[in-house]
């Protein structure tokens, strides 16, 4: 199992999913209409490291985070 957390303004409770590759996550999240606008502009981190590989492998216990657009300061 992996966990998926939604940071900042997305405001959605974490999910626990039985997936082994990041590419399995997109169709699952697309089923949720409240996430559709966030998927286009959110970055993704695995275990707190930002990733750019949509086919990254996942292992049991991994934490995936969605980071929407930022504005500090």
């Amino acid at each position: 199992m992996v966990t998926v957390e939604f940071l900042g303004p997305i405001g959605k409770a974490p999910l626990s999913l039985d997936i082994t590759n990041l590419n399995q996550l997109t169709p699952i999240l697309k089923e949720d209409e409240s996430l559709s606008s966030w998927l286009k502009n959110s970055a993704v981190a695995i275990n707190d490291m930002l990733v750019k590989d949509a086919n990254a492998e996942l292992k049991d216990g991994d934490k995936i985070s969605l980071l929407p657009p930022v504005c500090g300061g």
């Binding site: 998927l39 959110s42 970055a43 707190d48 490291m49 990733v51 949509a54 930022v70 500090g72």
Partner: protein, 147 residues
């Protein structure tokens, strides 16, 4: 003293910047540049509010400390969590460097990358409610991976 400090609510600017000055003025840095961000009264907001994701903020900041070290400099930063009312400060960044030119360049690069990459989310406070400032926010490099 941690070079990255987070505070609940507005920043005690004088205390933070005085401590930095006292800590580093004897380290033979010839240039200490401090940038203080102040919340402006505009668009009928009462203030701003911030969420921070600390694990990635820490690794982003550590990366900048390494970049600064390669130029014999250090970076310092303080930021607010939660609500910060108008005309108070939510953000301070500083660079200490032996050389003026390095400090001037680094403070610019550091603050600009902070705006584009640091995992902090800003909300306007309007009539007691938080409204996400999407139009002033920047998608992190690599965003849209799951679209």
């Amino acid at each position: 003293m941690s070079k990255l400090q987070l505070f609940d609510g507005d920043l005690p600017v004088e205390s933070i910047t005085n401590k930095w000055y006292d800590e580093f003025r004897n380290s033979n840095y010839g240039a200490i540049i401090t940038f203080v961000g102040v919340v402006r009264d505009e668009d009928n907001i009462d203030g701003l509010s911030f969420d921070i994701y600390e694990p990635i903020l820490n690794s982003w900041f550590d990366g900048w400390q390494e970049k600064a070290k390669q130029r014999n400099a250090i970076v310092l930063m303080a930021h607010s969590k939660g609500d910060v009312l108008n005309h108070t400060s939510s953000y301070i960044a500083a660079v200490c460097s032996p050389k003026r030119r390095v400090a001037l360049e680094l403070i610019d690069e550091f603050v600009e990358d902070f705006k584009a990459s640091a995992p902090i989310w800003k909300y306007d406070i309007i009539e007691g409610k938080r409204e996400y400032a999407l139009d002033r926010s920047t998608a992190i490099d690599g965003a849209g991976l799951l679209s």
